[in-house]
Symmetry: C2
Subunit: 463 residues, 2 copies
């Protein structure tokens, strides 16, 4: 592995020391189980927030450490669409002078550049919006600030959160893609440039980069995080999610924004976790090595005390990915009407093709696709019957090489229309030492189940 | 009635003549059944589009007539937040030089000022956004242009489409409110300033002004018109709708934007329309005169051959308005986080109160409210069983006086969470000669039923 990242798990021992006049923390790495020195930017968001609240760390010092990491690595990784160190530090210093405002007080957050910010340009990954300055913060950005968070900068998105890639490289191996569309968020969090970042998913844009970059990606139930100020692509599927390095960190953001709190006691799962292992209808799309790794992970969870039973999705699910394509393309070409009708030549060839294809779908086809989605949604209760969560692959394999594009969303595409909460946990390592994640899914609205089981899996398989 | 408006129904005979060097049309008024002279701005959108397509009328002449009407009446009615005659005429002249682009070719449309326009300021009804110029057109605006429509200007919205009123007066009697939040759209269409305008509904913001202003208001099934570029208030309920003077005109817009076409044959209803007359759980909120008028309308429809049967909503519906309040306030205060946390003092006292109240709702209460909505949604199949549509009051009575606010949304509030298509038809006249509408509702996705039955009711009761 080209780069070994050291970070603190949510339950890691953290204690402050002062070396060379700089704050630093001892953190336990996930690989070696021993305490080593690490900088504040490697802390989990929860540890950082706790340290700030208890006076062991300042927001300024934390942001400085993140900026130092960015300074060191950004030329290589290219995670940021916009960053202004003075601006971020000013916000951090202001936090240090305030009474704690909320759960995120003092913690820096990266914002995917399809999400509006009133004080930073927002380009939606498109040259059409070069230097575009929105008039107001998206709801989630204003809520982060309301909760005391610091907006560190804007992370690279593919073009309008579709497929045309930005500059970002996979921090584990820069010859590879970080995945997309939430490319910069995935890479920045993985590279310890920031502990938290927003991503979005319309097809597989949040889970895939989390998997490729080896971090946690939590895509909450549909509409859990308010979408005001998100550049809309598909009104039916666009979902805001959180990238972090621990499951609890991602849950912290949703607690701050949506008043959704996982009870502390729920993190300790009572009894045997009941896990439905689902190869999914697209299992054959995964490479053999990944199939073996996922199977082995399921088996190891059994060894850790989980009841793991293989489930097969009903045949109706075979048509779900196609239904997603119909619905999302029908919506893409409408949501992007202004760009399509005024700036067609400034869109990538890929996106032009998608929009043109989208204009070909009829309302009748769109509605028929929705009927398929509704049918499958109705079947989910039976699928989940008796199980706490579904365990499924996140991706077909390791991150492809950069020039091959942002990878395939195929292992998310058929889940996304159902709006289920899902959490990628980074627990596998592919044949070329790149990370591979698996995802835990729970019924719509049962985010606590998805999160607590993902956390359990993360802890058990990261040992 | 202070003002008698003369307009063409969608099926009106229209023929062009040239009087005094000005184009004009003979149209049959809905009141007298005789042909009289009327200006192009009084034409239905369908008649205008047909006349333009067949070379009998130009878009320029039509827009001129609308602008002349605005020039004559705007000081009294105050329907427009922004209008630039030169800009509208330039767009109209461009249309006259093009091959017909689509269903709306040459037809002017008013845009509620919570919907972004790239070439006109958009203030969302709030001083916070004075002179704000969005970077791009909302999807629906770009789609109108793509279909050949002309954006005439921006119509007045209440503050962020909530309750604090703008300047608009009811064109029938300027001592009264036009309703809200789609105040300007309702008034402008009713006053023949424009044949079509977009409104939005989150509680009762589209149906109510249509009822008070005596026009058709079609609120399609949830998500029928793409919401990209609409200033978001409640992601779960915000719905774009169309104001027009005929039912078919409103359907034309949705056909152009959403590829939703009511088959021509469906407008002639085969057999007896089966109408469920629903007083609703808030019947007592309607004044006695309105109750009598609605009952009489239901009875008259029976006389016209409909099978009209009274239905009572299950008791669960009694809690639906409250569930709507919980959900929408929970979402308002999040969607407007930027404004709430940065410009609280620039919000109206009313909205400040709503947002503060919204911050008090817990996630648990929010989810419990959704369960009530889901329960009622599940009951709708039984409610509609055997009936084509529901007929229900649109409002408690005539438009209140201007200084009393924009009126009560109570007769829409419990329907809105269900996302059903509904159409206000202006068929009643209150004790002080102000219009009162009734609404026709159909099951989710069955917009054709709502439209064709509304058209039937409109024709039968407008005679």
């Amino acid at each position: 592995m080209a780069l070994r990242m050291v970070w603190a798990l949510g339950d890691a021992f953290a204690d402050m020391c002062n070396g060379d006049g700089k704050y630093a923390f001892y953190v336990r790495t996930r690989e070696h189980g021993r305490d080593i020195m690490a900088d504040p930017n490697t802390l989990s968001a929860i540890d950082a927030a706790t340290a700030i609240r208890t006076g062991q760390l300042t927001s300024e010092r934390l942001v400085e450490a993140c900026l130092a990491r960015i300074d060191e690595r950004e030329n290589t990784v290219g995670a940021w669409a916009y960053i202004n160190p003075d601006q971020a530090l000013t916000e951090a210093r202001a936090r240090d002078k305030q009474e704690p405002k909320g759960l995120l007080h003092g913690v820096p957050v990266g914002i995917k550049d399809v999400i509006d910010t009133a004080d930073m340009p927002t380009e939606y990954g498109s040259p059409i919006y070069k230097d575009h300055q929105p008039a107001c913060d998206a709801a989630c950005v204003a809520q982060v600030r309301e909760s005391g968070g610091v907006i560190l900068g804007k992370t690279v998105s593919t073009e309008f959160a579709t497929r045309y890639a930005g500059k970002t490289r996979n921090p584990h191996n820069t010859d590879h893609t970080p995945g997309g569309s939430s490319s910069g968020s995935g890479a920045a969090v993985a590279d310890c440039m920031v502990p938290l970042a927003f991503g979005t998913q319309t097809t597989g844009s949040h889970i895939r980069p989390a998997s490729y970059c080896g971090i946690v990606g939590y895509k909450p139930s549909f509409n859990m995080i308010d979408r005001a100020g998100l550049k809309q692509l598909s009104q039916s599927f666009d979902t805001l999610g959180v990238h972090g390095r621990t499951v609890k960190d991602t849950a912290l953001v949703v607690a701050a924004l949506s008043d959704f709190h996982v009870p502390e006691s729920a993190w300790e799962i009572a009894g045997r976790p009941k896990i439905a292992f689902c190869r999914t209808p697209v299992w054959d799309e995964a490479d053999a090595k990944t199939q073996a790794l996922v199977e082995e992970a399921a088996s190891r969870l059994g060894g850790h005390g989980a009841e793991v039973v293989e489930v097969t999705l009903p045949a109706a699910f075979d048509e779900l990915a196609e239904a997603h394509t119909t619905i999302s393309e029908f919506e893409f070409c409408r949501a992007l009407s202004y760009e399509r009708t005024n700036f067609l030549e400034m869109l990538s060839e890929h996106l032009r093709g998608r929009l043109e294809h989208g204009m070909g779908w009829t309302r009748t086809e769109y509605e028929a696709a929705w009927q398929k989605v509704a049918h499958c949604a109705g079947l989910m209760e039976d699928v989940f019957n008796g199980y706490d969560v579904i365990l499924a692959p996140s991706v077909p394999g390791e991150a492809p090489r950069f020039e091959e594009g942002t990878g395939s969303p195929i292992f998310s595409q058929f889940w996304t229309p159902l709006g289920l909460p899902c959490v990628n946990v980074p627990v596998l390592e592919g044949p070329t030492d790149l990370p591979i994640g698996i995802q835990l899914l729970a019924p719509l609205g049962e985010d606590a189940r998805a999160l607590t089981h993902a956390d359990w899996v993360h802890r058990k398989l990261s040992g």
